[in-house]
Symmetry: C2
Subunit: 519 residues, 2 copies
């Protein structure tokens, strides 16, 4: 564990990563933390907050860039360890490292731009009755943030992932609880951040990394009075537990939990008439990518019954049967996937359409495609449960009105997808209002599994997709999660933060008396 | 009650407003609503949401302005009824009406500007590997909002107050639960909104007004699946109950509860050396304004012991003794105030410094000033409890370090105030980081009771001042509370909302590939 500038071997218990391709432990062991370790990390983070949030924008951007540099400097050792611990292939992890580094650099740009500060000035109007005071608003960080690393992105949504990068960008110190599936990867990345803290001359409490159990380190972290927000990516059960713990604190705090989503795809009639087989084959590529272990995996397909759906299903089935069972991330995830598939297979009105190749290793996930009809889907709540992995359910509809019924029926989702042609636009217009209410991102003629890290991305959505639909956990707007506004009234010039001073020394975009200006 | 375009006399029970100056009921009676009435209002709101959120910015702005016009057209009847029901004087209520109307017009401007949409576009990069899709983000309303009217601003934070105005501005239908202390005022204002809905040709479900009990209408409202957010101003007990109810829903929703605050004022030594008596007298004016019934009432004064504090206390005491006991808003508020003052008087280490004139009417609030020392304050948690009304506590410190201790000790607040001169800046710099962490607004050499409705105002702060420190309930930024982002990926041009179309038909400020532009 990395607590401030120190390294500790935790004394609570020993933890081994498991190689999911063999099911065997990987050396060395890691020591998990105690309640006292957690308290130390949180207290250091609290001590770091005042100085860290007043770093200049340039200092903070350089710190984020230094983390990126340090991660790249680990070299192939990082990829190798992540491959061992996650079972993910080299190319995928190299891509994910690029995404992680790119994400840190994007937030460095966001910090330099300074628009996230929402600097806003209202001039004094001393002659008005009553006089208007001088008012100036900026945003500051919420305070220390607890980040829970995700299993399915051991780099891009773990120790230096999107939650950490956006929290550090906002001026918040971070205490990470590493995911127990990849402690070695977590340690390597944690050291890269720890070294960047030192290089940039920041307070050591800006970053700590803990190993530990949910009921010791996790609960202590969320309950600690110094922690002011939580970032989490994982199961609905885990996310809801964090939401409850945070709501029951003496001082409730925001939780940004990205949880479960089945990402419905609506295949509109004319699009199917013009390419059912092509869409079917491409759908299987999206479904099985990374053993289906994406939050945005397409787990629900809505289409009209008939010949085009038969063609889609046949093409999908053929493509699926050719797919090798990829190693899943952990034995636990593999077991949950197997159980979820069994439950679907046993559900009345659900029929197995096709399976991928039989697994050989202990954690191989055999891809699976089911089909049911809209009446069964609408009447069977369990069919909405996410099966994390390469499993999807086709819902066959009698008429286009059932598309709308399904759209209105499903709970909050990260994404919804429409396959359409110009002839389908009228039907799409009927669906879009419902989809806007239900999801964070609407796609046309693509697959939801690619999540671009950019300015206009929303990786979020209404509950249970996330705990807080007002936010995104991917992309530039993720920084907004960890900010709150503070207003300064009649503050003398030399006590004002630079972002709010007369003459705009930082050259920021600011709203002045209601108008957006940069001058 | 006004449910959509209809008016109902509720059948649950009968409710009379009480004239607090006499303690007698005011005719006519109002009928409170049932669970079924609440359900009808929420369902109508849900039905209105799709069309209301797609009104043009101009339509929505005109609707807000029409509400303002209709409120003014009620004329003196509104002021008269509000005076009867609240005990507040005519000038105050006329000022509050101006604030209410000004608030609606400010949000009309905010809507026309369209910056709240956060329109953001990332161009497709088809040549990149992997290709980047076309991504466009805008914000939409969360859905129907439940607003609980406040007792202490029967116009500006009630039926057409800040919560309603900002929710309507964001594109969310509103269901208001009227405060039972001013049903007649609520009905008059509700009819003004209902008429504006009709004039503007909007879906009747955009606005409903319910009378009712917290355990029937209030709980049903917060638990209703169509309601997607809550706005509330009132007691900590009431706000915390709403937070818990919202967190326990099948789909948890955000609650914006503005609750309790004691608004510490730090009187720095040189400011006191240069004007202790003047600050003391002015402080009493702020403390007793509106019978002290402001969220931002200065309930805690921190100063150094010694001659300057004696001078301050004497001046404050003299000013206080001249203050007539003003009629408080309701018998319940008056009783709670009396009890709070008694508890303070009975607290060990707390001394009564001065009282205002003895009350004559049944709800007269006799202003009260207490003093204690920092050691007692730090050791006695109950001294942090808000006594809603014209009651304040001076905390006398031995040394300047105790100022910082008090600042670190207090819970979240709406405001903190510093009285200072240039000679106090060094001490102020020590205090400011702690105050930023604790409060939503920091003032210098003024009193917190004036809350400007403008762009840079923050009327918010960490728990227990509010349920959500990321927001303000007063000022232009209040609109952000009721919005969430949606991203549109590769959506054909004729399915895109106008705010995101090529060529920027609305002339909005937009972020394009990371740069803020208006073209």
């Amino acid at each position: 564990m990395l607590i401030g500038k120190t390294a500790h071997f935790g004394t609570e218990r020993q933890l081994h990563a498991i190689d999911p391709s063999s099911g065997l432990p990987i050396e060395p062991p890691f020591g998990t933390g105690t309640t006292a370790d957690t308290d130390t990390a949180c207290t250091l983070a609290q001590q770091a907050f005042d100085s860290y949030r007043e770093t200049t924008l340039e200092q903070r951007a350089q710190f984020l860039e230094q983390i990126a540099t340090n991660i790249l400097e680990i070299g192939h050792a990082l990829i190798e360890r992540a491959m061992q611990e996650s079972g993910l292939p080299q190319a995928r992890l190299e891509g994910e490292r690029g995404r992680t580094v790119g994400q840190l650099r994007l937030f460095a740009k966001v910090v330099r731009d300074g628009r996230f500060l929402d600097a806003t000035l209202d001039s004094a109007l001393p002659e008005r009755a009553p006089p208007r005071p001088d008012l100036r608003l900026r945003k500051i960080g919420l305070g220390p943030v607890a980040v829970f690393g995700a299993s399915n992105f051991p780099l891009a949504f773990s120790v230096a992932g999107g939650d950490t990068a956006s929290a550090l960008a906002s001026g918040c110190p971070v205490v990470v609880k590493a995911h127990s599936a990849h402690p070695g990867t977590s340690e390597l990345v944690g050291k890269a951040i720890q070294a960047a803290v030192a290089t940039c001359g920041l307070h050591e409490g800006v970053f700590s990394l803990l190993f530990g159990d949910g009921n010791i380190v996790g609960q202590t972290l969320v309950s600690h009075p110094s922690i002011k927000a939580v970032g989490f990516t994982g199961s609905r059960q885990g996310g809801v537990a964090l939401m409850r713990a945070a709501a029951q604190r003496k001082e409730p705090i925001p939780v940004y939990a990205e949880m479960s989503s089945i990402n419905p795809m609506f295949l509109l009639p004319d699009a199917m008439a013009n390419g059912a087989r092509k869409i079917g084959a491409a759908f299987i590529d999206s479904l099985t990518m990374g053993a289906g272990q994406f939050c945005t995996n397409p787990g629900l397909v809505i289409a009209m019954e008939g010949g085009d759906l038969t063609a889609f299903s046949e093409a999908a089935g053929e493509a699926l049967q050719a797919k090798v069972a990829a190693t899943m991330l952990t034995p636990g995830i593999h077991a949950a996937y197997t159980k979820g598939v069994e439950q679907l297979a046993a559900t009345a009105g659900v029929r197995l359409l096709a399976r991928g190749q039989v697994a050989t290793g202990p954690c191989g996930g055999q891809a699976t495609l089911f089909i049911t009809d809209a009446a069964t889907f609408l009447a069977t709540p369990s069919l909405e449960d996410e099966v994390f992995g390469a499993c999807s359910l086709i819902v066959s509809c009698n008429n286009i009105a059932q598309f709308r019924q399904v759209a209105e029926h499903v709970a909050g989702q990260l994404t919804a997808t429409l396959f359409l042609t110009a002839a389908d636009h009228a039907a799409a217009k009927q669906l879009l209002p419902a989809l806007e209410r239900k999801v964070g991102r609407i796609l046309v003629n693509g697959f939801p599994t690619g999540v671009e890290v950019s300015h206009a991305m929303v990786h979020g959505g209404p509950f249970p997709a996330t705990s807080d639909s007002r936010s995104t956990s991917v992309g530039a707007a993720a920084i907004d999660r960890f900010l709150r506004p503070v207003s300064y009234q009649d503050i003398p010039a030399d006590l004002l933060p630079a972002s709010l001073q007369d003459g705009n020394p930082l050259g920021l975009w600011r709203v002045i008396n209601g108008d957006l200006v940069q001058a």
